[in-house]
């Protein structure tokens, strides 16, 4: 039995650096010291989850200065989406955050539907919820696999990728693609749920809670894991809100805030699930939030499957021919369907003038999509409020009493995806 070390308690007051909240400046007494060593972590460091660069100033093993540099993966998604029709721009959104692709797709589609005032069939709503939760488990599994790998728990990687592969198999069965599925259409889903999905999905959700317990049994009583996560990277509730943190980081700091409960979208107000909240604001608590969320997501998926099985034969996409592609088989027999298909694919459909901000709870927190339409077939402005981008702003605050080895644990616990940070 491992002995847990004395755990530093959450601090009082604010630790956000001043005047620049995201830069940890060297304290005045060390400014002239010759023992300060400046080290670049990244952009090509395997533990930075992509291409994050941290300029770290070390005094011995202590981190005394820190500056995060982002932008190495900037690909201009937002600009590109402005030049595509609404219909074609859906393809871009899952690639922004390549671990929670379904949620990115969902938020964009929800925004367009809100502008259009389009009602979505019940079956599509529940299937979207089902896939969004499977995607949350998928994203958390990749997080756990890589975060544990960085702290030396190498075997965790293989166990997590075993279940991740099962989820990707489910996605492949439903959508034909393992990642970046583009299964959500404006108005519903691209295709009906295939036969064979339900038994496979049920088999998976029966297994998943046991798998989570298995992961916990690997690290929960491991002395190295405990020492490297407990009391490390502290972030108080007050600071987390001031720094705009959302998702597991905020809930790990003791704030009960989950958009699925607070501002329900899809049908989240009709399913039962808990929101895990932990009080201590350290790496360990963020880890626990992720673990509990996987269990809760499994519960939601089970309820979705129950409802979806009753909806056999119901429509999966809205019946609005000005926006929705006509059924494939009609193209061979109906001239009007062929014209509609051609028009939607080449020219796109027009979306009424207006601006919307639609938030959803992605695996990383509040994922918002701000859309402006001028009434034409292309978006005037697309902006994604990326939770990872905001999470990285908290690095300086979390590192204020860190050792260089904690740096990896802290950056890992913030669960950032660089594709989303740099967009």
């Amino acid at each position: 039995m491992a002995v847990a070390p004395e755990r530093p308690r959450i601090y009082e007051g604010s630790r956000i650096p001043s005047p620049v909240p995201t830069i940890l400046a060297i304290p005045p007494e060390l400014r002239d010291s010759e023992d300060i060593l400046e080290v670049n972590f990244g952009p090509n460091h395997p533990s930075t989850h992509g291409v994050l660069r941290l300029v770290v100033e070390l005094h011995g093993e202590r981190v005394v200065g820190l500056r995060a540099v982002v932008g190495y993966l900037h690909t201009g998604f937002e600009k590109n989406m402005e030049a595509k029709s609404w219909w074609k721009a859906i393809t871009y959104s899952p690639r922004i955050d390549y671990l929670s692709f379904q949620n990115n797709e969902l938020v964009f589609v929800l925004g367009v539907e809100k502008l259009l005032g389009l009602a979505v069939p019940t079956k599509a709503t529940w299937m979207r919820m089902c896939l969004a939760e499977l995607n949350r488990i998928h994203s958390h599994l990749v997080w756990l696999a890589t975060a544990a790998l960085e702290l030396g728990a190498i075997s965790m990687f293989w166990y997590c990728f075993r279940e991740r592969d099962q989820i990707l198999d489910l996605f492949e069965m439903v959508t034909g693609t393992r990642m970046h599925t583009r299964y959500y259409q404006v108005g519903g889903l691209a295709a009906d749920i295939p036969p064979g999905f339900f038994p496979e999905a049920r088999e998976f959700i029966d297994w998943m809670p046991k798998a989570v317990s298995e992961y916990e049994s690997l690290v929960d009583r491991n002395a190295i894991w405990l020492e490297r996560t407990k009391g490390v990277g502290l972030l108080s509730a007050e600071d987390a809100i001031a720094l705009g943190q959302t998702g597991p980081v905020l809930r790990g700091s003791g704030v009960d805030w989950d958009l699925r409960k607070a501002q329900p979208y899809l049908a989240y107000d009709e399913v039962e699930f808990g929101v895990p909240v932990y009080e201590n604001g350290d790496v360990w608590d963020r880890y626990k939030v992720h673990m509990d969320e996987m269990r809760e997501s499994t519960r939601i998926v089970a309820q979705c499957l129950d409802r979806l099985e009753e909806m056999e034969g119901e429509p999966w996409i809205a019946n609005d021919r000005k926006v929705v592609l006509p059924p494939r088989e009609e193209l061979h027999t109906s001239m009007e369907s062929l014209i509609h298909h051609f028009k939607i694919v080449t020219e796109g459909f027009c979306v009424p003038e207006g601006e919307v901000y639609v938030p959803v709870e992605s695996p990383r927190g509040e994922l918002g999509c701000y859309l402006v339409s001028d009434g034409g077939p292309k978006p005037w402005r697309v902006k994604f409020r990326a939770p990872s981008f905001v999470a990285l702003e908290a690095t300086a605050t979390c590192m204020s009493d860190a050792l260089v080895a904690d740096l990896i644990a802290i950056v890992g616990s913030l669960d950032t995806v660089m594709g989303e940070v740099d967009r």
């Binding site: 995201t22 201009g76 590109n80 705009g244 501002q263 027009c350 601006e355 077939p377």
Partner: protein, 171 residues
Amino acid sequence: MEQGEELGETTLVVDPARVEEACLHLRDQEGFNMLADVTPTDYLGWGSRGVAGYIGNSWGRDLNSPGAQGYARQPAPKPKRFALNYHLVSIPAGRRVRVQAWLDEDEAVSSVVSVWPTADWHEREAWDMMGIRIEGHPNLSRILMEDDWEGHPLRKDYPIGGEPVRFSGEE
């Protein structure tokens, strides 16, 4: 200050010189304790054709003409070129509000970093991508593009594919 309601979302239009003051009031008096997002939008060429590859049709949309991409009607004119949107959330009340400031190209807006530290990177992004001048920001530098980048890529007069691409070996 004007208040508008559209598609179930509340928008407060604020004088750009008083953004900081308005945000302080909303945080301390109205309970909007979190800043979710800061989004600038460029309305250059709004309602006309030929902006950033956009095939608009400013005289309305004729469904019978081939390739008629365009508007069903003219969009409502905007007061100035840029809109800067602050999306605020109230935890735990669960309310949201959008604070909107309208700016011309040479106008600046006061920073809200002192109100919400999270505005730091959002405002740097607004400067980098859209060239919005933020006054009183402690560290206003480019964030996504390189430090010596020219222009602001998300502006409507910045073309797609027109930027020089630099490779090694090039002098």
